[in-house]
Amino acid sequence: MSFDFTEVAVRDVSRHYGRRRALAGVSLTCRSGEVLGLLGPNGAGKSTLLSILATLLAPSTGQVYYGSHTAGQAGPALRARLGFLSHDLHLYPELTARENLEFFARLYGVEAVSERVATALGRAGLTARGEDVVSGFSRGMRQRLALERALLHEPRLLLLDEPFTGLDDASVAALVSRLHELRAADRIIVVVTHDLDVAERLLDKVAVLKDGRLVAFDDAHGRIREHYRAHVAVGDRCS
């Protein structure tokens, strides 16, 4: 019953709300061991694309392929291979850190719940605060906890929506190194971010969106700023 894949392919995906178009004809791929960045100005459709990748939204036209299956074909087994770190963090503020992790671990059918939760708390640097309720945590602490929550079930595809916003430099560095670890473990990572500095350190591939269209999709090679300025500032189209 275990479902897995090594590549995510977005094929000509569009999404519209009435007459407002959020995404138009976007196509891109990302493989195991790669970090793909979604860049672009506000309202470009980055979060929408991420939600579609997470199967929270259905595309109006086009398809997303996880390996050789679409979300519809794969069913709930696909969701077991997805990890989503949203801007809202999806944590229950009234529960403790441990309780949050345990709830999601059980929900995802993770084995050896206690050990996994303990490990996760350790990686998040929150072992000492495990019994404290989340509402008392700083943004950075919550972020670390939410990331570990998203990784409890060892997803193949990890989706992060603006994970670096509001973090201090130390937290950013820690997150970047964690993501590098995951990349080395052959995960597929898609990150939406505004932060070009971080993007330069982290990304293998970059996709630039503007007004719902994909204006650039290329290997990063440390040339992210060029890509961004060239395509977003001037408004060129190329793929």
Binding site: A54, T55, L56, L57, A58, P76, A77, L78, R79, A80, L82, F84, S86, D88, L89, H90, L91, Y92, P93, E94, L95, E99, F103, F104, R106, L107, Y108, G109, V133
Partner: protein
């Protein structure tokens, strides 16, 4: 697996509620305030209208239930945790059942406070047939909550959601109110009309089966965009 997920969700809701106790306290207090307002508004010769006991009780439960539903899902909306639940690789209807059980439990607590209060204020003979009364309350609560949970969940993303919930919920749950009130009133008579109450109970049971099934069926298509 289905039941395990429902149990997990319900236990999580209970834990959250036990920590803050916000919804329980405010809902119970609101329900009590409702009963009192009605009791004082409907007076005859300076005393509360005794025949109105059953009606007042059920109306108060319905109003309080609507509030509680709104608050519960507002909480989920605040942390977008409903989305997190939808992302989980579990059967979506199981999430619905978990939420439903939580709401039913909350409303039963409210009723546990209201029934003695109503007995006190209206001299209603609540000990006539306690088992039958409990059965009526439980099945009526399940029916109301089944529809309420579904509508409240699907309204999480909608505009004007606070006023939309009563607009949608009350017309659909009118049979529950009729059956609940009539059945309870039958039990509150000097000589309780047990057969009548049992018939209303049967109707409620049937309603519960139909509407829980319908809700389970429509939960997934309603919650996915």
């Amino acid at each position: 697996m289905f039941l395990k997920v429902a149990w997990l969700v319900m236990r999580k809701d209970l834990t959250v509620e036990v920590r803050s106790r916000e919804i329980v306290y405010t809902t119970v207090f609101f329900a009590v305030a409702c009963v009192l307002v009605f009791a004082f508004a409907l007076v005859k010769e300076g005393r509360p209208l005794e025949d109105a006991a059953a009606g007042i009780m059920w109306i108060s439960v319905a109003f309080a239930g609507t509030l509680a539903l709104g608050r519960t899902f507002e909480r989920e909306r605040h942390s977008e945790t409903l989305r997190a639940l939808m992302l989980a690789p579990v059967s979506r209807p199981a999430i619905y059942v978990g939420k439903l059980l939580g709401i039913v439990l909350l409303l039963l607590i409210v009723e546990a406070v209201l029934v003695p209060l109503v007995g006190l204020l209206f001299h209603a003979p609540i000990w006539n047939r306690p088992l039958l009364l409990i059965a009526l309350l439980v099945s009526g609560t399940v029916g109301f909550s089944a529809v309420g949970t579904l509508f409240a969940a699907m309204l999480v993303r909608a505009r004007s959601r606070d006023v939309m919930l009563p607009i949608l919920l009350y017309p659909i749950t009118i049979p529950v109110i009729i059956a609940g009130v009539r059945g309870t009133a039958a039990l509150f008579e000097a000589v309780p009309a047990v057969d009548l109450a049992q018939m209303w109970l049967a109707l409620l049971g049937f309603f519960d089966v139909v509407f829980v099934t319908l809700s389970l069926w429509t939960f997934e298509p309603l919650m996915t965009e």
